[in-house]
């Protein structure tokens, strides 16, 4: 059985069916990119995986355990599954280091000293250890997003969800954030990305899923999706991307 399994997952907001039967298997160390138009359900799918949204029907399994539906320990699940948001969502009243150490101390029960030592080491890895005592508002968007990634990594998640993490950044800041994701992929981190950065998706993914109206319309290795799409809608989507000069 794969590491992460989604089986017939559906989710409706009011009268708007956002996910209409998602089926997906992700193995350990895979990087899966979700592409598709806005509103196709990419973000909702990621938010369902760590239960920020509850699914209406279907099941999600992580490492063989059912992690959706009734009676599950959502806090335990979220210790294993990190998520990084489009808008960073750093805690503005805490310093960078406090942002990174809060969860390890409060959730994992690390001592403050140990959490800070690990936090500083992680910040050093992304070249922001000199900003440890700064408040997030003093950082650029790219720096904030890098801190947000580190904040998720501090929990040592087994799966990392990245929800359009470069969409709110100025173009010249996108690279520094993607570099970290590239490093994580090289380290074997299991990741799912919702993204509009097609070039990046083509480069890092082991698998690309094209979402259309709440279902995975086509999935396959990046060469298939971007160069030889099998489905008509995928072809049309990829053509629009190429026409816009984004691939």
């Amino acid at each position: 059985m794969s590491f992460l399994v989604l089986r017939d997952v559906t989710k409706t907001f009011g009268t708007n069916p956002v996910l209409r039967g998602i089926n997906l298997e992700v193995d350990l160390h895979q990087v899966v990119c979700l592409i598709g138009a806005s509103g196709s359900g990419k973000s909702t799918m990621l938010r369902c995986i760590n239960q920020l949204e509850t699914v209406d029907s279907g099941e999600i399994h992580l490492g063989g355990d059912r992690v959706s539906g009734r009676g599950i320990d959502v806090d335990a699940l979220r210790r294993e599954v990190g998520i990084v948001f489009q808008a960073f969502n750093l805690f503005p009243h805490m310093t960078v280091l406090e942002n990174v150490t809060l969860a390890p101390v409060k959730v994992l029960g690390f001592s403050k000293a140990l959490a800070e030592e690990r936090g500083v080491a992680l910040l050093k890895r992304i070249g922001l250890d000199d900003k440890a005592k700064e408040y997030p508002d003093r950082l650029s968007g790219g720096q904030q997003q890098r801190v947000a990634i580190v904040r998720a990594l501090a929990m040592e998640p087994r799966l990392l969800l990245l929800d359009e993490i470069t969409s709110a950044l100025d173009p010249e800041l996108v690279g520094e954030v993607l570099n970290i994701v590239r490093d994580l992929a090289a380290d074997g981190m299991t990741m799912m990305l919702a993204t509009h950065e097609m070039g990046f998706a083509k480069e890092v993914s082991s698998k690309v899923c094209f979402l259309h109206e709440g279902v995975i319309h086509e999935e396959g290795p990046p060469e298939q999706i971007f160069e030889h799409p099998q489905e008509e809608r995928t072809r049309a989507f990829v053509k629009r991307i190429i026409d816009a000069g984004r691939l």
Binding site: L52, D75, R78, G82, F85, F91, P92, H93, L108
Partner: protein
């Protein structure tokens, strides 16, 4: 389509027009010290404009406007102060005698008595303030408990807030301070009058302040909660470490407002027979045949409230400088 294009009269489009601020300068003459310069600049602007010296004319017009604004600021203030001074001196200094009687103002015994009373007000304020801060937060959090299961709690708390916000503080003090001991309510039947006053003020202001807290908590964007929960923090931990700290920071100014109100409403506790500053001022006034002791009590309140306000303003500014760089 052509109907949409209404020609604008050429005259209204003259960007090069010189503004002389003649009407403002004329009104400014009501306060001659600044009104006269305003008018002079305005006249000069008009003359230069006629002579074709547009740049100089604009410069003069600008100064006419500046002087007109000075007339508003200084003129209004001077006339208001003059009016107040006239009030004090009117009726052969009667107002000054009643409110600021010299013999009472310089009476050390009177001050001593008032200070003794004021100390009780300060005690009540300080203790009630701490209780209000805690109690109101508890109320706010109970009112925001999620889910259908907690609905009864939410309703109960909402009723409390509605009721105690709706009753005047003086009535709550009388009901609590006279009613509870008379009915010999369990646990609450034998407080001192001062403690009943504290209880009553805490109940009243707790209702107000809980609404301030609630607004603050609701103003913290849900994405902050999403971020905290996604890291594995529980609902309680998220409130404790992420939502409430941000909420409290945001509501400090309105909170401060309510505390000044609380400080002032400690003047109502005399209704229970507590010898606070107001009761003592009344004794002094009765024996001296003046109202000056009330003014002295007011001065005592101001001596505390004004520095308190400034200190909190300073705290807020310092906090903002720390976390809101470049905004």
């Amino acid at each position: 389509m052509e109907d949409l294009v209404v020609p604008v009269p050429h005259a209204t489009r003259r960007v090069g027009r010189v503004l002389t601020y003649r009407k403002a300068a004329t009104l400014s003459l009501l306060f001659p010290p600044t009104g006269i310069p305003a008018m002079m600049h305005s006249l000069r602007a008009a003359r230069l404009a006629r002579e074709g010296e547009i740049e100089s004319a604009r410069h003069e017009g600008e100064r006419a406007r500046d002087w007109s604004w000075y007339s508003v600021g200084f003129g209004l203030s001077v006339y208001i102060i003059a009016f107040l001074a006239w009030l004090l001196l009117t009726n052969n200094h009667a107002v000054a005698q009643v409110f600021f009687g010299w013999s009472t103002m310089t009476d050390g015994g009177a001050w001593k008595s008032l200070l003794k009373g004021f100390w009780i007000n300060v005690q009540v304020f300080l203790i009630a303030e701490v209780l209000v801060l805690v109690w109101a937060l508890v109320v706010a959090i109970m009112r925001l408990l999620p889910g259908p299961a907690c609905k009864p709690v939410r309703v109960l708390v909402t009723v409390y807030v509605d009721v105690f916000r709706g009753i005047p503080a003086l009535l709550v003090i009388l009901i609590v301070g006279l009613g509870l001991p008379q009915a010999d309510v369990p646990f609450l039947g034998d407080f001192s009058d001062r403690n009943y006053a504290i209880l009553a003020l805490t109940l009243t202001y707790g209702a107000y302040v809980s609404e301030v807290y609630r607004a603050g908590i609701e103003s913290v964007h849900w994405s902050q909660t999403a971020a905290a929960r996604s890291l594995g923090l529980s609902y309680t931990q998220t409130m404790r470490h992420v939502v409430v700290p941000q909420a409290v920071r945001r509501v400090i100014p309105p909170l401060l407002n309510d505390f000044i109100g609380l400080q002032k409403d400690t003047s109502l506790i005399g209704a229970l027979g507590v010898l606070d500053v107001v009761s003592r001022a009344r004794f002094v006034n009765n024996s001296k045949g003046t109202l000056t002791a009330y003014s002295m009590g007011a001065i005592l309140f101001l001596l505390v409230t004004i520095p308190f306000t400034r200190w909190l303003d300073w705290l807020i500014r310092r906090q903002q400088a720390k976390t809101l760089a470049g905004r």
